[in-house]
């Protein structure tokens, strides 16, 4: 029982981090970035190359992964999203294509087979009778730290408030002197950075494979749909609902069914309560 709680808490923290970058884009830019999972892919593989293959210190590897993720986010906004301005269907479809392209690119460079990422922090400890790897613990603590920093950033800084303004009313923000284009640009960069960082943690939790972008995308989608657009608190709560549901499904029913309840939750919430469990409050 305690083991389930510990496992659930750890997994949920990771999921919250994964979902956060996706939520930001949906909230500020009002578009679904189906290539979001590609950031995780890129982050994971950059870290793998730099730190595990070339032996660069792990912290540097993580930073580099985050920076590349940020760069990819910026490029994606400039080259893809901005030219298709406002056309949601076109953005969804082209980001879906892009995700497949990135996946194929990874196969091209690294091959089809999955790779084991060595734990970022090696070692195992016992928490309340459950064995917990330091790695997952570090991932969870890391995501909580990032989430708090993000919360502070959005609430307290000038840029963060501008993001809130754009997410509530793009035109109104523009009239008040906020440049929505720059804020969008910034958000895409930030989202890429968060995604790539989450990718490193996620890969060290599972493993590194070219198809590891689908599951996180679905988790992110579920969190956004169930939690409502862009609420950081909502994201956190729903990430825990989904995390615990998965841990429970694995422990109580069958490991193969771990994703089924997430899917049912998405369908159920969209059909019964399209506005999400916590309403569509802004950022």
């Amino acid at each position: 029982m305690l083991q389930i709680i510990v496992q659930g808490l750890l997994l949920s923290g990771l999921y919250a981090l994964i979902a956060m970058g996706f939520t930001l884009i949906f909230s500020v830019g009002r578009v679904l970035n189906l290539a979001y999972g590609a950031y995780l892919l890129i982050g994971g593989y950059i870290y793998f190359t730099v730190s595990q293959t070339l032996g660069v210190p792990k912290v540097l590897g993580l930073l580099l992964a985050a920076m590349v993720g940020c760069l990819v986010g910026l490029l994606k906004y400039r080259l893809l999203v901005k030219p298709l301005k406002g056309n949601h269907v076109a953005v969804e479809i082209s980001t879906l294509i892009l995700a497949v392209v990135v996946q194929a690119g990874v196969v091209f460079i690294y091959g089809d087979s999955s790779k084991i990422l060595l734990p970022i922090v090696p070692g195992v400890t016992q928490v309340a009778g459950a064995s917990v790897t330091y790695n997952l613990l570090a991932a969870t603590i890391g995501s909580w730290a990032i989430l708090f920093a993000l919360y502070w950033f959005v609430r307290k800084t000038h840029v963060g408030r501008a993001m809130q303004a754009v997410s509530m009313d793009t035109k109104g923000a523009a009239i008040s002197g906020v440049d929505p284009d720059r804020i969008n640009m910034f958000t895409w960069g930030l989202s890429g950075m968060l995604g790539a960082t989450a990718g490193v943690f996620f890969a060290s939790y599972t493993q590194l494979s070219p198809s590891m972008w689908v599951a996180p995308l679905i988790i992110a989608v579920a969190v956004v749909i169930v939690g409502g657009i862009g609420s950081i608190i909502g994201t956190l709560i729903v990430a825990h609902i989904i995390g615990f549901m998965e841990v429970l499904a694995v422990a109580v029913i069958a490991p193969e069914l771990r994703g089924v309840f997430t899917m049912l939750l998405i369908i159920g919430v969209l059909v019964i309560r399209p506005q999400g469990l916590f309403g569509r409050e802004e950022l």
Binding site: V31, P83, V89, A90, E92, L96, A99, M263
Partner: protein, 319 residues
């Protein structure tokens, strides 16, 4: 319907080419064209629903899968004759179509696309654990009864199925019904405001799309003789269907056929250079660039080219 002489001419030419193809190409190429035919059927199915009404389905493999699995299970596990199994599979797929239709009553746009994506992933996971004695679980099924032997027969069957579906959908979409479905894609509220029941129209689009998907899926499984969940409920498969419809030219029926052939051959030409999944890198990039350059697809490029060449005539491609 406003049929003109050149419509007949173009269709006749299309059918003539399809009939003549086996005379000119190798068995290997014929096998590739068989896949193009099936992809064209799936892309038409997607186009009838998503290309027209703007309800983007990310779950088409869900519908195709129902058709394929139903027919495979009925013939293999219950010894139902194929001629009964295929209609039963189509009916099952249409029931699946109604299931996908229900969320469309309340949600639109991105949210609808996400529900259908969730449907696909859900089926993928369920099919592996629920009654694996029937579905074959993770490994799927092999040794499913096939309808034809040899590339030539397979080609004729798939080609006639594809041409029949394309022609009947094209005729159907040229009626006022097709116009009304397109109107939903442009502005659903205004369609209601014109006194038309959008619920009825959408239900029709979903059922027609499911009908085609089920038919295609059932024939496909009886061509392949096997079925594997990972190959079917797969984002790459979904991606190929959608991209075929879009870069061919959505909402035109003929566009998806062109797109399906274009993609299938592109993928084959890349094979000698890039044998594995990395082919999708070039393939996806070309698709992405084409889509960004002309969102209305190849058919629109052809139309524009035609216009430039014969700008004095009033021209119209079959759309």
């Amino acid at each position: 319907m406003g049929l003109r002489w050149y419509h007949f001419a173009l269709w006749a030419a299309f059918i003539a080419i399809m009939v003549a193809i086996p005379e000119f190409v190798s068995k290997g190429t014929l096998r590739i064209i068989i896949f193009a035919n099936f992809l064209a059927i799936f892309a038409i199915s997607w186009d009838v629903l998503s290309g027209r009404t703007g309800y983007i389905s990310f779950g088409h493999p869900f519908l195709i899968g129902i058709g394929a699995y139903t027919s495979a299970i009925l013939t293999k596990r219950f010894d139902v004759p194929i001629e009964w199994a295929i209609p039963a599979a189509v009916v099952m797929t249409m029931i699946g179509g109604i299931i996908v239709f229900l969320p469309a009553l309340r949600i639109k746009g991105s949210y609808f696309a996400l529900v259908t994506l969730a449907f696909m992933e859900l089926t993928y996971q369920l099919v592996q654990v629920i009654r694996p004695d029937l579905t074959g679980g993770t490994r799927g099924m092999s040794g499913v009864q096939t309808l034809t032997r040899g590339a030539l027969n397979g080609y004729y069957l798939s080609a006639s199925l594809m041409v029949t579906i394309a022609l009947s959908m094209w005729l159907l979409m040229r009626t006022q019904l097709g116009t009304a479905l397109s109107a939903i894609g442009m502005n659903e509220e205004s369609v209601r405001g014109s006194g038309l029941s959008t619920t009825k129209l959408k239900l029709f689009a979903f059922l027609t799309s499911a009908f085609v998907a089920g038919l295609g899926g059932a024939f496909y499984v009886h061509y392949l003789g096997s079925i594997a969940p990972r190959a079917l409920f797969d984002i790459n498969f979904l991606f190929t269907i959608i991209v075929a419809a879009l870069i061919g030219g959505a909402s035109t029926i003929i566009g998806p056929v062109i797109g399906a052939f274009f993609l299938t051959f592109l993928l084959e030409y890349l094979r000698p250079y890039l044998p594995g999944a990395e082919r999708y890198f070039i393939y996806g990039l070309i698709a992405l660039l084409l889509y960004m350059y002309e969102p209305k697809g190849i058919i629109e490029l052809l139309r524009k080219g035609w216009h430039r060449l014969f700008s004095r005539h009033s021209v119209e491609t079959p759309s």
